[in-house]
């Protein structure tokens, strides 16, 4: 299985999501096949086989025709096999522009929630590893240059909260047309409205501006830097997990615990 996991690792590093198929049920006289793994790449390429050419082809057909929603147990039509269809997930990343007093707790909370955190500031005293011990990367450079250099993909959240309006605008300009899962920016409603009008006048597409989370965070009534960081981190998690941000006690249906 060495080459299979090597290819899986390469794909994850390249940002490609791979279908991982595991054979988890067989007829009683074919248990030697149990645990076989096969990869199906988005371009249709495969690695590994399950049982034989027929079953492998049937599985490729399932992956090609069924819509993926979440990891699921499925029957392969015909001979009594069941497979578990999973996908590889790239580690989620959060890029925080600005190394100020809210970034401190935010970098720690997001790291606790399994995000790989990058902090950017253009002042050395605000952008060093000792200030952000839980961040994987701390970059001291101009915001536009640093944001231009970091990878931003559909597994990335970008949080803009620099020390000033001018720098926030610079950051937003650098990331607005990048494929981030979440782009949030701190600021008052009035200031953000003015900024959005300015960007719209410059010809930035309306859907990009509408997808912006600004003012940033959930309405928790937050006052302190730590509380504001919680409200931002909660909004980021919800954007990745599809949460509706209401108290579970206010929802009808199943509860945890």
């Amino acid at each position: 299985m060495g080459s299979l996991f090597d290819r899986l690792r390469e794909a994850i590093e390249a940002g490609i999501s791979v279908n991982i198929i595991t054979l988890v049920e067989t007829p009683a006289d074919e248990t030697e096949y149990l645990g076989q793994i096969m990869l199906v790449f988005p371009d249709g390429d495969t690695e590994g086989t399950i049982v034989d050419a027929d079953v492998t082809a049937a599985i490729i057909n399932i992956v090609a025709t069924k819509e993926w929603s979440r990891p699921v147990l499925l029957e392969v039509p015909g001979r009594g096999y069941r497979i578990f269809w999973n996908r590889s997930e790239k580690k989620r990343r959060a890029v925080i522009a600005g190394g100020g007093h809210i970034s401190l707790p935010l970098s720690e909370i997001l790291a606790l929630a399994d995000f790989s955190v990058t902090v950017i500031d253009d002042r050395l005293e605000f952008a060093h590893k000792a200030r952000f011990p839980k961040a994987d990367q701390v970059i001291c450079d101009s915001f536009a240059r640093a944001l231009g250099a970091v990878e931003i993909n559909s597994d990335t959240a970008v949080i803009i909260m620099t020390r000033g309006h001018r720098y926030d605008t610079e950051c937003l300009r650098a990331v607005l047309d990048r494929p981030a899962r979440y782009i949030g920016m701190i600021g008052s409603r009035r200031r953000i409205r003015a900024l959005i009008e300015q960007f719209a006048a410059e010809g930035v597409k309306a859907d990009r501006l509408a997808s912006l989370y600004a003012p940033i965070g959930l309405d928790l009534g937050s006052q302190t830097p730590g509380e504001i960081a919680v409200s931002i981190a909660a909004e980021v998690v919800a954007a990745f997990r599809g949460g509706d941000c209401r108290s579970l006690s206010r929802r009808v249906g199943e509860k945890h615990g």
Binding site: F5, D6, E25, L34, G35, P71, L73, R87
Partner: protein, 106 residues
């Protein structure tokens, strides 16, 4: 499967190590983690990742060590609704199916 576990498994296979991968493949009712969550168990008993912690995880870990010993995959049904679970405070009330497979080179 998340990036951390994939990298850990790939690195282990490069060293020629053997390990067990335990994956939640189905859940019914309320369970702490959902299908697709996995953990790795090493022959010496070390664990990486979590499928929910507590007694259920300990049970799966034991079955994983057994799978490493006899070289065969296993299916574990973890019930979180019986008396024993309630006594231990595992009050989620769900059932999860865990598939344990042995991962090695070759």
């Amino acid at each position: 499967m998340d990036e951390t576990l994939v990298k850990l498994i790939a690195a282990a296979l490069e060293r020629g190590a053997k390990l067990a991968l335990a994956t939640i493949i189905e859940t019914k009712g309320s369970t702490p983690r959902k299908a697709g969550t996995a953990m790795v168990v090493w022959p010496d008993g070390r664990v990486a990742g979590t499928i929910g912690g507590g007694c259920s995880e300990a049970e799966v870990k034991l079955r994983a060590l057994q799978a490493l010993d006899d070289g065969r995959p296993a299916r574990v049904e973890v019930r979180m609704l019986n008396d024993a679970a309630a006594e231990e405070g595992m009050v989620c009330g769900g059932i999860m199916q865990v598939f344990v497979q042995v991962i090695k080179t070759g």
